[in-house]
Amino acid sequence: MNSDLIDTVLGVAGLAVRFTVYVMLISPAGIVVLASFTREDTLSFLPSGFSLRWYEAAFSSSPFMSALWTSSQLAIVATIVVLILGTAAAFAIARYRFKGSSLFQSLVLSPLIVPIVVLGLGLLQFLAWVGLSNSFVGLFVGHLVIMLPYVVRTMIGGLLVLNRALEEAAMNLRARPFRVFRRITLPLLAPSLITAGVFAFVTSFGNVTLSSFLAVTGTVTLPVQIFTYVEYSYEPIVAAVSSIVIAVTIVVILIIERVIGVDKLF
């Protein structure tokens, strides 16, 4: 009897916790999307009426559109570069024993631990010292640094799971090293590469702190643009821009899910 009661109480509590977690996860995005359809001139929840005027405004706002363009370009190019660098680093760490291997690994993963504010400050000083302050290259390099740990971590995991005998079998079947990599290693690492790519892209695309530190005159990333806009205006245009970003993200994840299945990703 008593244990039945405990089971029931725990069951109800579990349901409540789960419900709360889901609500907390979804509501910020949901509120922004709902608010973006407002007819009013100020951002408010719940919105009154329905209109697409803020979407029109967003698409015709050159600061927001150029920021979206900057952020996309930065994130896409940086993701490609960081995937190459990170996979190479993961290869070295997972496959070879060399002096200072664990030091190298800690170093590569350290941006995860160091607060981004500290990293940003340090990078700002460093880039000024090497003459790259207020340059797109500096911003780009900064983004690579914070994206790298996600890629390296994911790729080390992928490499450790990959059966080395498969590569040996390919070599035994007369495949030269590059062919082994292209025909065997790379296809089998594809799920890890996509996971790493998604992590890296999101890290770059959503970053505010580092991008503010390494801001380049004339080019602003979208998160920084939204952040500075909200500081002095409460126009629903930011809600519309955010909703566009959310929509793009969902579409990308759906495509990936269609292609390989999200359950294989994480």
Binding site: M171, N172, L173
Partner: protein, 345 residues
């Protein structure tokens, strides 16, 4: 000319030798088995032939050509891995075609050869399946077809039966042996299973701690083991450490006396369990009184451990149903003098 020739190869890992001065010649069409317990160096030896491990010293020759320093993809070997290592993202046909592609064979020839191989392993109907959709036995056959497709000089098998259940193992062993004999391919085969080696091989090289204990045909290895290790590792046997007197009689303990073909002095002899028989009346030639210390039922025959005045004697015998002696029972046994072998050295 031998197809594979190992000359004094050693592999050191730091100060420990995984393989120590092993020499071996494998003849054309021969099925040679590297047998030994785990860590004896048999797999390292096989990997040195394939080129995945570079010997610290010594040379490896394949078809008379030295390949010691050649990369694996420049050697004419076909290997079946313990895990089969089929490419999970390729179909059965694509797996088999992979080696032919790398050799630069034209598509037409490739297709033809893949078809031949599929027929050889009787899996033509599964050519479009992925490895994950095959049973263990089917995967093993695909791995074999993939290795054979390139028509290599030597086939290397690394414990190919260890991932299969016992029932299937025995049947596939017979099938594989007759297939390899039919196509007359030279084969190097690694196993830790002595029964498998005895059944499968033309010749066996028994290894221990990186060195060679004995090389010989299965019956040589079984009947006349060169060392105590080989005697104990292959099959089941009684081992006696005793003395030979001037009349060529070996004695151990108070009661065991056996004729041996050896000069006087200390000697070790072995007796295989099938040379020990139960007898009705004690007092017969080479008959002894024995106490049963353990009795294991194995279907058609019974395996007994016996105590003959302090010496352990192993016996395999057929008993009518329910008549097998029980533990601590006293029985009479005789040892066939033809089955008594003196270990050299």
């Amino acid at each position: 000319m031998s197809v594979v020739s190992l000359k004094n190869i050693s592999k050191m890992y730091g100060a420990t030798a995984a393989v120590e001065s092993v020499s071996l010649d494998v003849e054309k069409g021969e099925l040679l088995c590297l047998l030994g317990p785990s860590g004896c160096g048999k797999t390292t030896t096989l990997r040195m032939v394939a080129g995945f491990v570079k010997p610290t010293s010594g040379t490896v020759e394949i078809e008379g050509k030295e390949v010691t320093d050649l990369a694996p993809y420049r050697r004419d070997t076909g290997m079946v891995f313990q895990s089969y290592a089929l490419f999970p993202h390729m179909t059965v046909a694509q797996n088999i075609a992979f080696g032919l592609e790398n050799l630069g064979k034209p598509p037409k020839l490739r297709e033809q050869r893949v078809q031949e191989m599929l027929e050889l392993i009787e899996l033509a109907h599964l050519s479009r399946r992925y490895p994950a959709e095959l049973s263990g036995g089917q995967q093993q056959r695909v791995a074999l077809a993939r290795a054979l497709a390139m028509n290599p000089a030597v086939l290397l098998l690394d414990e190919p039966f260890s991932n299969l259940d016992a029932q299937l193992r025995v049947r596939l062993r017979e099938d594989l042996r007759s297939l390899l004999k039919r196509i007359q391919i030279t084969t190097l085969f690694v196993t830790h299973d002595q029964e498998e080696a005895l059944m499968f091989a033309d010749r066996i090289m028994v290894m221990r701690n990186g060195g060679v204990e004995q090389v010989g045909t299965p019956s040589e290895i079984y009947e006349t083991p060169a060392t105590r290790f080989v005697a104990e590792f292959i099959g089941w046997c009684s081992i006696f450490d005793g003395m030979v007197n001037g009349q060529g009689e070996f004695s151990v303990g108070d009661s065991i006396r056996l004729p041996v073909d050896a000069g006087p002095g200390p000697a070790t002899v072995i007796v295989r369990p099938e040379h020990v028989k139960p007898v009705e009346i004690p007092g017969q030639a080479h008959a002894f009184e024995a106490r049963v210390t353990s009795s294991n039922y194995h279907g058609s025959l019974c395996r007994l451990r016996l105590d003959v005045s302090g010496q352990e004697v192993l016996m395999e015998a057929h008993y009518p149903h329910g008549r097998a002696p029980k533990v601590n029972e006293r029985i009479a046994i005789s040892i066939n003098s033809k089955g008594v072998r003196r270990l050299p050295g």
